[in-house]
Amino acid sequence: MSEIEYHAVAKTDEIMEEDVKGVFVGDEEIAVFNVKGEYFATHGICTHENVGLADGFVEGDLIECPLHSACFEIKTGKAVNPPAEIDLKIYPVKVEGDTIYVGIEK
C-alpha cells in the first residue's frame, strides 16, 4: 500500500452546498464537491471523454458531466448512467478548520 499525502486544495466557503470546484494537485485534476455540508473529491475528468467535471452540474449526491450528461455518484465515483461506463476514481478528503485537504497516493 502506498502512503496517502494530504494537500490543501480549497477553503470550505469556496464551495457552496450542491456545488463543485476544480482543483489541481500537481498534474492531477480533481473535482471537490459539497454534498449537504460534507466534502468529497473525485477525479476531475469524465471517464467517457476528456471533459472537466467541475463544469458539471451537482444534483443531490450526483455529478452530471456538462457534455454528454453522464452521471456519477460523488461519494463512490460509480458511473450511474451512460454514456459513461467506467467509475470515477475517488480520493479521501479531510477538513481541518476551514481548509479542505485531498489525499493523494504518494
Binding site: D55, G56, F57, E59, E64, P66, L67, H68, P82, P83
Partner: protein
C-alpha cells in the same frame, strides 16, 4: 437456461449499438446480430465535424465499444453489409447478395442520410457532405492550408465545419439561403450573435444566397453565385439537412410519417419490430407532441428503450430534447424545441460569449440555448422538466442562484 432466439439489429449506429448492449445488460442470452453498412463499428458522430476532422483523434477512439468489448458481450457485428429487405411474414431479412437471416425480434436503427444539393457540378470531386466517418476522412485528405472552402448551409453542421476548416488554415465562406444562421433552431437574436461570432473569427458569412452551380475541370475549381459572380474554391462542404432512412421499413409496410412511427416504448406497428434514433417519429410526453429528433442523447436513450422493449420490458421514454455544438471556442447547448414562446430572458453577457437565453411560455421555461454556460442550461432543463414558475427578471438577475428556483 439457453435461449435459441435471434435478435437482429439493422444499423450499426449509436442507437443500434445501444440496442445490442441493452439486450445483454438486461440478461438476454440468445443471439444478437448487429448489421452495419459502413466498414466501422458504431462510432460517435459529434467528433466528425470537430476533433476527427482536425485529425486530433483516431477512428478507433470514436468507437462506442471496441471490438473486444463487443466480442465479450457476444454481439455478432457484421460490417460492410447492406440489408435490402425485411420480410415480415417469414420474419427474415435479406442481405445484399441474397442471403437471408431469420429473426425473432428486429430493431431498425438506420438513421438518416444527407440531403443532396440539386445543382450542376455538385457531383464534382471536391464537393463533400459531412455525415459519416468516410466523409470526414475524405474532407481531411482534401483540405490544404490556405484553401478556400465553400460551406453550403448555415446550420449546425455548416457552422461547425466552417470553424474547423478555419482552424485548419482554410478561408471558410458560408452561404445560407435564409436571412439568418441556424434559422430553424434559434431566435433571430441568437442568429445575430452567431453571425458576429463567426465573422469575428474570420468566416465570410453570406446570407440570403446560395450557389448557382459548381464548376471545374474534373475537380471543383469555383462556385458560381446567382448573378454570375464566381468564387474560386478547392473544396465545398454541403450541410443542408438529412433525410430519415425509412425505405426498408416503408417497403415492409410499417407505418411511416416523417420517420418510422413508434410509440413511447420504441415499438413500431409490428409487435416484433422496434426502431430507435434519428429514423423514428416518436411521441414526447414532456412536449406533448410527436417529434423526429436528430440528437446524440435520443440515439442513446431511445436505443436503450428499444432494447428493453424487445425483451418485453417496455418502459416509456420521454425526455427534453438536448443538443450541443462546438464552434471555435464556443460550446453551445440547447434544450427543448421551443415553438411559441411569449418571452425571452438572457442571463449573462452576449458580448462576452458567455450567456444563456431562456424561452418562456406562461412563466414556464419552454427551451433555452447557452453559450459557454452548460451549468445554467442544466438547471434550466430541470426547471423546464419540473414546469417551475419563473420570471424573466429573476432568470436575468445574476444574484439569483438558479438552483434555488428548483426548490419551488
Amino acid at each position: 437456461m439457453s435461449d435459441d432466439r435471434t435478435f437482429v439489429i439493422i444499423g450499426a449506429s449509436q442507437a443500434g449499438g445501444w440496442v445490442a448492449q441493452t439486450l445483454r445488460n438486461e440478461g438476454f442470452e440468445g443471439k444478437v446480430i448487429l448489421i452495419g453498412e459502413e466498414p466501422y463499428l458504431p462510432y460517435e458522430r459529434p467528433p466528425l465535424s470537430k476533433a476527427a476532422l482536425l485529425g486530433e483523434v483516431t477512428v478507433d477512439s470514436t468507437y462506442f465499444w471496441q471490438q473486444e468489448a463487443l466480442d465479450e458481450a457476444n454481439i455478432e457485428v457484421r460490417l460492410n453489409t447492406r440489408v435490402t429487405a425485411i420480410d415480415r411474414n417469414a420474419k427474415e431479412i435479406e442481405i445484399k447478395g441474397g442471403d437471408r437471416i431469420a429473426y425473432d425480434k428486429l430493431a431498425i436503427t438506420t438513421g438518416a442520410r444527407v440531403r443532396k444539393l440539386p445543382i450542376e457540378g455538385a457531383d464534382l470531386p471536391g464537393v463533400f457532405y459531412l455525415r459519416t466517418m468516410e466523409d470526414t476522412l475524405a474532407i481531411r485528405d482534401a483540405v490544404k492550408d490556405g484553401a478556400t472552402a465553400m460551406i453550403v448551409g448555415g446550420g449546425w453542421i455548416g457552422l461547425e465545419c466552417a470553424a474547423t476548416l478555419t482552424k485548419l488554415g482554410c478561408k471558410s465562406i458560408v452561404v445560407e439561403a435564409a436571412d439568418r444562421l441556424c434559422g430553424r433552431a434559434v431566435t433571430p437574436e441568437i442568429s445575430d450573435w452567431m453571425l458576429k461570432f463567426h465573422t469575428g473569427h474570420g468566416v465570410d458569412v453570406r446570407l440570403s444566397t446560395g450557389i448557382e452551380k459548381f464548376e471545374g475541370n474534373g475537380q471543383l475549381e469555383r462556385a458560381v453565385l446567382p448573378g454570375g459572380d464566381t468564387i474560386d474554391c478547392s473544396i465545398a462542404v454541403v450541410g443542408i439537412g438529412v433525410i430519415a432512412n425509412v425505405e426498408l421499413a416503408q417497403e415492409a409496410g410499417l407505418e411511416i410519417d416523417n420517420g418510422i412511427v413508434v410509440d413511447n416504448c420504441a415499438r413500431t406497428s409490428d409487435p416484433d419490430i422496434v426502431a430507435a434514433g434519428d429514423v423514428t417519429n416518436h411521441p414526447n410526453d414532456l412536449l406533448g407532441r410527436r417529434i423526429r429528433l436528430e440528437s446524440y442523447e435520443n440515439a442513446q436513450n431511445q436505443g436503450i428503450t428499444a432494447g428493453k422493449a424487445m425483451l418485453d420490458k417496455a418502459e416509456p421514454y420521454s425526455e427534453i430534447p438536448w443538443f450541443w455544438s462546438d464552434q471555435f471556442d464556443a460550446n453551445l447547448q440547447m434544450i427543448g424545441l421551443p415553438q411559441d414562446w411569449d418571452e425571452t430572458a438572457t442571463r449573462g453577457d452576449e458580448a462576452s460569449n458567455e450567456f444563456v437565453t431562456f424561452y418562456l411560455k406562461n412563466g414556464v421555461i419552454d427551451g433555452a440555448i447557452s453559450v459557454n454556460n452548460p451549468r445554467d442550461l442544466r438547471v434550466g432543463k430541470r426547471l423546464m422538466q419540473g414546469k417551475k414558475q419563473v420570471s424573466a427578471a429573476e432568470l436575468i438577475d445574476p444574484d439569483t442562484k438558479l438552483q434555488t428556483l428548483l426548490k419551488r
